[in-house]
Structures are given as structure tokens and as C-alpha cells.
Amino acid sequence: MSVVRLEAVTVDYGRGRAVGPVTVDVGAGRWLCLIGPNGAGKTSLLHAVSGLVAYGGSVSVDGTPLARLRPAARARLVALVPQQPTVPDGLSVTDYVLLGRNPHIPRFGIESATDRAVVAAALDRLELTAFANRHLTTLSGGELQRVLLARALAQQTPVLLLDEPTSALDLGHQQQVLRLVDELRLDYGLTVLTSMHDLTLAGAFADSLLLLDRGDPVAVGRPAEVLTEAILARYYRADVQVVTAPDGTIAVVPTLARRPRPAGEQRADGLGARP
């Protein structure tokens, strides 16, 4: 199990600082979830950790700074499940999961029996064996998310990053995917970093939360410390109620305050449908 350490990490796209400086440790085998409003820099931070964008500061896994590693060596430490994956035409599920073996295969080599065995095991673990020969384009959203997890698992990294793993899924599939991530974390001792919009799910699954607001880390801690009505009202500019269930689960409930208005009162600026 590996410790992920971010020290004064900043991302700058040339239009001023997008994220940071962020300093945070993710303990071995722990799950840290990045939360924050749209544009807060969650994806940028995940992309920095996976080496997809240039960044300042330092990201290290078990003391090894990732910036010094070659792409393949870094991809043996950190796997990323992207929010919107590119789904290539004409690839089978097995072909696609096999791409996760790339950092383990010599540059000009071909996959070995070990690589194929790891892919088969990853498909088996995610109950995708029946889908092995299906084309990616024929899968549903939930199935595709499992295939992406299988590809990341086939990378055999100690650190798993997931960018909005539930954003394209319905309620049931959201829970299934997050439970699966948690099981994989425990099964293989993975250290997990995710970004998530659903605060209730984030609080239920992550060990700790990091709240970003316009790139700045504004709150970090256990879910109960970060998911407070005061913090959420301030940074999300949303009216919410935080309810703690008897079992300790924290639910963030939007207070649905429709503003009352006298009947028949409508604007007369010509934008409404013509009678």
C-alpha cells in the first residue's frame, strides 16, 4: 500500500493559477475525494497527479517524485479512470482492457501470457468475462464504467484515480460502482483519489474530503468535518441541510425552497410563448 503526497501542487494553464497550492497526504490504502463546485480544479488536480498536465510543486508515491519518472514508470504507479473516456471504434472489451498493460509491456514488444492472464483476471474480478468479445460501442454506461475499472486494474498500480466515476450513471449504478471501487481498494490495498459531485456519496465512501473552491483548498478532513451546512452554503452557494443518520451516514439534502409567487404574475418582455 502506498502513500500519495502532494506538496504545494499548482496547475497553471497560462491564464493565471488554476489550482493550488495544494498540500495533502493520502494515507496508504485510504480514499480521498476531491469535492467543490464546477471549475474548482478537481480534474486539474487529478490530471496533475497522473502527469497529464504540467504542474508546480511535487507529487510523490511512497517518496518517489512522479515528475522524474518516464511515462511508463509513472503509469505503473498511477492509473486514471477518466470522466469522459474516448471509446475507440471496433475494439473488443479484451482489446481495450489489454491497453492497461501498456506500461508493463516493453515499448516495441507484444503482450506476454502474464499480461493476458492479468487481463483475464481483471475481467473476471469485474464480472465482465461474458463481455470479453463484445465491442465497446455496444456497452451501456454502467458496463463501460466497469470496463474502465478493469483497464485501470490491469495497470496493476498501487494508486487509482477516478474522475467523476458516477457522473454518467443512474442512482443504482452509482452505488454499485462506488462499492466496487471500495472493494477493489480493500482487495488490492489501493490508495484511491476521486473527484465527485454527489456529496452524500462522497461522504459515504471516502475516508477524507478535500474541498476546492476556484482552485484553492478551503477545507480538508473527515466527511463530518467538511460536510457542514455553513461550509457548503459558503462555497457551493447552495441551501442545504446536512442530516446525520443513526448509523453515522451523512446525507446532504438540498432544501427545495421554491420561491412563492402570486398566480398570474408574469413578465411582459415578449420572451414567453405567444398565446
Binding site: A117, A120, D187, Y188
Partner: protein, 375 residues
Amino acid sequence: MAVAGPRRAAVPTPGGRSGAGPPGGDGTVASRGTGTTGSRWWWVAAAVALAGAFLAGSLVGPAGLPVRGVLLELVGRLPLVHLHSGLSRTDQAILWQIRMPRVVLGGLVGWTLAASGAGYQGVFRNPLADPYLLGAAAGAGLGATLMITYAGRISGWPVDPLPAAAFTGAVVAVLVSYLVATATDRRGGTATVLLAGIAVAAFFTAVQTYVQQQHAEDLRQVYAWILGRLSTAGWHDVVLVLPYVAVSTAVLLAHRRLLDVLSVGDTEAVSLGLDTVRTRVVVVAAATLGTAAVVAVSGLIGFVGIIVPHTVRLVAGARYRRVLPLSMVVGAAFLILADLLARSLAAPDEIPIGVITAFFGAPFFVVVLHRRARR
């Protein structure tokens, strides 16, 4: 919160290639998924097509050589075989000095253009990419036109100057495209490179057209070069292109698996540990080198680089590890047959081979597309 230790370690230890064997991981599922069973038949089909094209190309010609004699002559050249073909000296010369170099060169040109097209389509993740995308054709055209119009009457060149000029033009044009693109966008994004290629190609074509119009007396010769031909092929042409084709083929084949990794886009490919910029530069360089070399001896033969990889992809699957080598074999067969038609259909005149590749290639491609869509 206490984190439990690993409950089971079905997947081998992180970072290690040779961890404990995962249960049920005997590879049967994976090997079925990678389609190794079907691929053998595609190889057989492609090899048969190439052998058939090669035989047809050797047997058919205006000299009307006896079929039996040609076959015996070909077999007799195999190592450890001693046969008397019964061909006269003249017939032997026609076969070995006129037909065979033409067939072999046609094969090499088709092989290289199809492979380069597949390589370009892979690195740019663009189905419309072809070997001429970054200005190779326009550059070669300008180089050849300049040579024909300004230097064609100068004699005493140590080497044939026309292929050298075309080769240089093609390489320079692609190099300029890449430099323009990276100067504009340091990371060399695919869209920037493609647009730079279009701009450079347009510029080179403009200069070429101007020079061509200014020298109407050479128009016919320039035009014949641009349309492409194998009619003057000799063994010296084969020897000239062979080293380039060998290097280009070796590099492209070495990258065939990496092109599959690139198919998930740059961002994900980087997260999978691929150096995308280096991969793209190396593949483009290899494809350009091969294209420039074959274009230098054959002129601009269009359509092969786009139709062959696509046909292969439609029937044999999208993975480059299969598309790339199969395209080479199918491309060679396709161009040998196209050249056969080019020299036979209007004999004793020759139809430009570029006309044949498009005239017969396009409808064939439509049929393949149609069958694919109905599946």
C-alpha cells in the same frame, strides 16, 4: 478508520510483471478476445492475394510470353531448383529486365503507401489521413516540376536527379509542416499539425502550378509524373527504394501496438504510459521517409494509402497490430494488379496508374462500406 489488509490478491502485486498467478487467469478468455483464431485466415487470404497478383503481373504482358515457360523460369530461380524453362534469351530478358522489376516495384510502392496511410491514420486518429496529408505529395510534385523544367536539360548528373528532387521536396514539405505546427503549438496537437500540413501543401502546390504554367513545353512531362507511372521501372529503382522501404516498414511494424494505445486519445494514452509526442514524431518520420522514397520513383499514386487500410480495417478489425501488416501485403497486391490493368486495358498505350487505383478502387471501397453497414 482502520484499513483492512488485502483480503485476497487475485491480481498480482502492483508494479510487478511476474506476480502470483491470478486464479482463473489461464489466458483463455483473453486470447479468444484478441481474435488470434480469425487472424490466421486473414493472413492466408492476404498472402494468396499477393502471390496471385505477383503471378498475374509476371504472366501478362504485350510480349505474350508462354505461361509454362514463365512459370518454369520463376520456379527455376528458387534456391536449390535447377530447371530449363525453354524461354529464349529475348523472352528471358523481357521477363527479368522489364516485367519483374515493374511487378516488384509496384509491390513495394503499394506496400509502402498502404502502410504509411495506416500509420498516418493511427497517429492522427483521423480516418481521412493519407500519406500525402502533411504535404509529401505537394513537395514531391514541386521538386519534380522544378527538376523537369529548370534542370531537365542539363546532362551529366551523377545520379538520376528526378527521384532525388522529388524525395527532397516531399521530405522538406513534411518537415516544414511539422516545424510550422510546433512553432504555433508547442505540444504539437494533432489538429494543429493537420492544419499546418494543409497550409504547406497548398503553398507548395501553388508554386508548383505556377512553375508548370510558365513552362508549357514541359507540361506533358510534368503531368505524366504527377499522375504516377511504373512504366520506366528497372531494377535500379527497386534498389533505390528498398533501403527506405525496409527502414520505414521496420519502424512502422515496431509501433503497431503503440498505435492501438494511441487510439484512446492523447490524454488517456499518456495516462497509460505512452510518450505520445515521441510516438507520433517517429511514426510520421518513418511513414514520410517511405512515402517520399516510393513517390520519387513512381510519381503520385493516389488512393492506395487511404483505401487499402480502410478495406483491411472493415474486414479484419480495427486493431493496428493487424491493420498495419495486413495493409502492407494487401497494398502490394492491389498496386501490382492496378499496374497490370494500367498497362493491359489500353495496350499498347498505358493508362496512368493513379487513374486505375481510383477508378477501380473507389467502387470496390463503396461495396466494402455497404456490406459493412448492413452487418
